[in-house]
């Protein structure tokens, strides 16, 4: 049975380091390698940087067999959903989609409503230590 961790965080920049600590704590429990933990932190940071700094969002983690699934939302920044689906690597731009495509094993928009979108980031746990 996967374990779940859920909490609500302000999107204010002042809380980014708090989110980093939470991500690292969860990653440690999931036995992610240091490098993979760092990738997941970077994915969350970049997503939040593009998501605007107003309001709050839910941050949830699902720790399953061999994976950590992170969900963040609702994120209301206009254009974010489109940016995430822009998988083609736009010439001359290191887009959010490109960054996420590199640092997590999969990602996507799970829910999209008038209230914003929920973004899923998934990182696989490598070979057991």
């Amino acid at each position: 049975m996967p374990e779940h961790v859920t909490l609500e965080v302000p999107l204010d920049e002042a809380f980014v380091s708090v989110v980093r600590m939470i991500v690292s704590g969860v990653a440690e429990r999931a036995e992610l390698a240091f490098e993979d933990m760092d990738d997941l932190q970077l994915a969350v940071e970049r997503l939040l940087a593009e998501a605007g700094h107003e309001g709050r969002a839910s941050l949830s983690f699902e720790l399953g067999a061999g994976y950590v699934r992170t969900r963040i939302g609702p994120l209301r920044e206009r254009g974010l959903a489109e940016a995430l689906q822009r998988l083609d690597r736009a010439p001359g731009q290191l887009t959010l989609a490109w960054v996420l495509d590199t640092v997590v094993d999969s990602y996507g928009v799970e829910e999209s409503s008038g209230d914003g979108i929920v973004v899923r980031l998934e990182k696989l746990v490598g070979e057991p230590a």
């Binding site: 690292s24 990653a27 036995e31 390698a33 240091f34 490098e35 731009q93 960054v99 590199t102 230590a129």
Partner: protein
Amino acid sequence: MKQATGSPMSAAEDRELLRRLHKEGDVRAREHLVARHLPLVRSLARRYAGRGEPLEDIEQVGAIGLLKAIDRFELEREVSLATYATPNVVGEIKRHFRDKGWAIRVPRALQELNARMSSTIERLTSRLGRSPSIAEMASELGVTPEEVLEALEVGSAYTTLSLSAGPGGDDDGDPLESIGEEDTNFERTEHRASLEPALHHLPSREREILRMRFEEGLPQTQIAERVGLSQMHVSRLIRKSLAAMRDELD
């Protein structure tokens, strides 16, 4: 790499490079000047080693002081660049320590743990042939996983990126580009051309690191090996470069 030594000849060469930079806007001349005086920065940075912060980070901060000195140097001055740059480099390093409040706010044990983190990761990566887990790092260091996470977070709070280097222009012959082996992969060359405009405001080393990470898809451990930095340092440079690129768009 050619280095400045303080001889009359090298001082004359410095002057010629400074003239090219300030009179002709030759950014390549700035890069040559930086390369020639990096040994001075390293020497000054070593004085501040052992205060809980990795030497390579102090060198990065010192390099910012050097860049400022190069950019502010007035050709009418009768002093050598090395003489003029020294207080700038030292000042930048001291300001860095003061701004971070490192010695005041962070418990000494955590400072020391942070300083040991980089070498521990490298040692374990080499021994295991993969990136270590937090538990493995904790075991190696004789502390709890939570203490490892705290020390890592302390390290990530630094701002050590030398973004003040300004536009780097063309890469060819760039003395700051401390990359290792040259990759001749055609696919990479194609991507390289496509990503270039996004990275042009970054210093050449950061550009190369981002290319390796996001075009070649290399993991940080391999990038660290190629550029001769610790994995933690590579991680910080990637993070700060992406943030700087984002800020530029705003």
